[in-house]
Symmetry: C2
Subunit: 285 residues, 2 copies
């Protein structure tokens, strides 16, 4: 998200203020999704809602998803001729002072609608520069994969990104490559597409899974595995993906004193093509 | 904290609502302290403020601590004949959409005053029952020790604590004993006082450090080391500490199918005595 907040709704009402007693504010006790809106069309919304449901289940937050979907539908009735981003946050709401939630704690549902500048996205189809961050992601078997509200790792890592770099690349506690600050990473190692294992940290991205299933339809497997910096240095192609911008080819990474570089290849162009299909963009490559 | 919110201040103004755009709400981008007030006296406030300053420095949040201290002083002018708890939260405030903060992002200072029932605390001087949680704390060399706002680990662990247990005990990703959900742990192993190493996870508690320095004055060293479940099973004494309740002797821990038990000994009584001194309680043991 790089543009301004247009509208926000809390529990179905237009509002921008929330109680400091909300457990989202006190503890980061919740989860979220960030959905690209191509005009009024929410891209991959069913997949986002499914992950949100799984996250809420893991955190044991009770949510009426019919109500949430109705609220999203209301918000999408705003006339949108340009692209936007919808952020959906669920917290455990107010209930329970101290870490242990009340057994009957509820939830807060927060929807935020942002402008999105699709033009600046198009410029990145040719490739982006990324920076290897020193801050390493926290390791947790339980929290890995889900998009919860404890995002200090991403805040600390992204503070390191110098100007003119588009994204930071994060490692786990042991120094394996995991993901971008706001994106997943795909690379080819000896011609085999792969993506870092997310069993200890990282977010299991919606766009990542969309690409995995689309490559699978072409009988191309994206293997989940441990990825080292050496793997990255030897990769033929490297690209990033997330739900908002889709796919970014990576052409350069500053890693400590070394600059690594890659060129987009056939797999990267396939990924961009899959992205264009789901975003409804009719481009030529 | 187990009692009601009496007052809350945001940036020096009595208020209870905060923008959903505050980075504390969006990302848990901040840190906090929980201070016991014995009548109007804030126990160990200088140590709390020093840790808060270190936490803000680590997170790179700029805060005017003179202003914060002035705001705390204003709040403490409320007439308090009974005990209370003051929670001080600092977030990065509004600024920067997306993980990367604006270079000129500010802060939000939130003060919350809660009732505290000191009578229910006294009952625990005889000992508490604790529960070994299955949820394991996230591991991070950077975030370990500081009291940041990413508290999902504590929320998930404390959800496991059955009724009639006073606290949950948490392990790290490798199964070492680290701390309680809201407290630090001290034990004796072969007569030697020790406390779990906090270099990968856990909060380096103010009351823990107060006890460490008071035992040191008696030439008794509290050694920081890795602690296993076996160490705990073989311990002669086990007690918990935090800034709000002080010291709790642990007399029983339910660990999977096994119940471990301990009796308070000389070190535990010394710790309670140190607590009573700083809380201004004149008790006999």
């Amino acid at each position: 998200m790089s543009e301004g907040l247009l509208q926000s709704w809390i529990n179905g009402q237009q509002a921008e203020l929330i109680s400091i007693q909300d457990r989202g504010f006190q503890y980061g006790d919740g989860c979220f999704e960030t959905v690209r809106l191509c005009s009024n069309f929410p891209v991959l919304l069913p997949a986002h809602l499914e992950r949100l449901r799984n996250s809420c289940q893991l955190l044991n937050i009770a949510v009426d998803f019919d109500l949430l979907q109705w609220e999203i539908k209301q918000l999408l009735q705003v006339d949108m001729s340009t692209d936007h981003v919808l952020k959906i946050m669920i917290t455990r709401g107010i209930g329970g002072r101290g870490y242990k939630p009340d057994s009957n704690s509820g939830n807060s549902r927060i929807l935020q609608l942002f402008d999105y500048n699709a033009d600046s996205e198009k410029k990145k189809d040719g490739g982006v520069n990324v920076f290897l961050c020193k801050h390493r992601l926290s390791s947790s078997n339980t929290l890995a994969g889900i998009k919860h509200l404890n995002r200090l790792d991403q805040v600390l890592a992204s503070q390191e990104i110098p100007a003119h770099y588009d994204e930071g690349i994060c490692m786990d506690q042991e120094g394996h490559i995991v993901e971008g600050c706001k994106s997943n990473l795909i690379l080819t190692v000896d011609g085999q597409l792969c993506t870092p294992d997310l069993s200890c940290c990282g977010v299991d991205g919606i766009m990542l899974n969309y690409l995995i299933s689309n490559f699978a339809k072409q009988r191309i497997d994206i293997k989940r595995r441990k990825v080292s910096l050496e793997n990255l240095a030897e990769a033929e192609e490297v690209f990033l993906c997330n739900s908002v911008y889709g796919v970014w080819p990576v052409i350069m990474m500053q890693a400590n004193a070394t600059a690594l570089s890659w060129k987009p290849g056939a797999h990267t162009y396939s990924a961009i093509q899959f992205k264009n299909e789901i975003f409804g963009i009719h481009n030529k490559h």
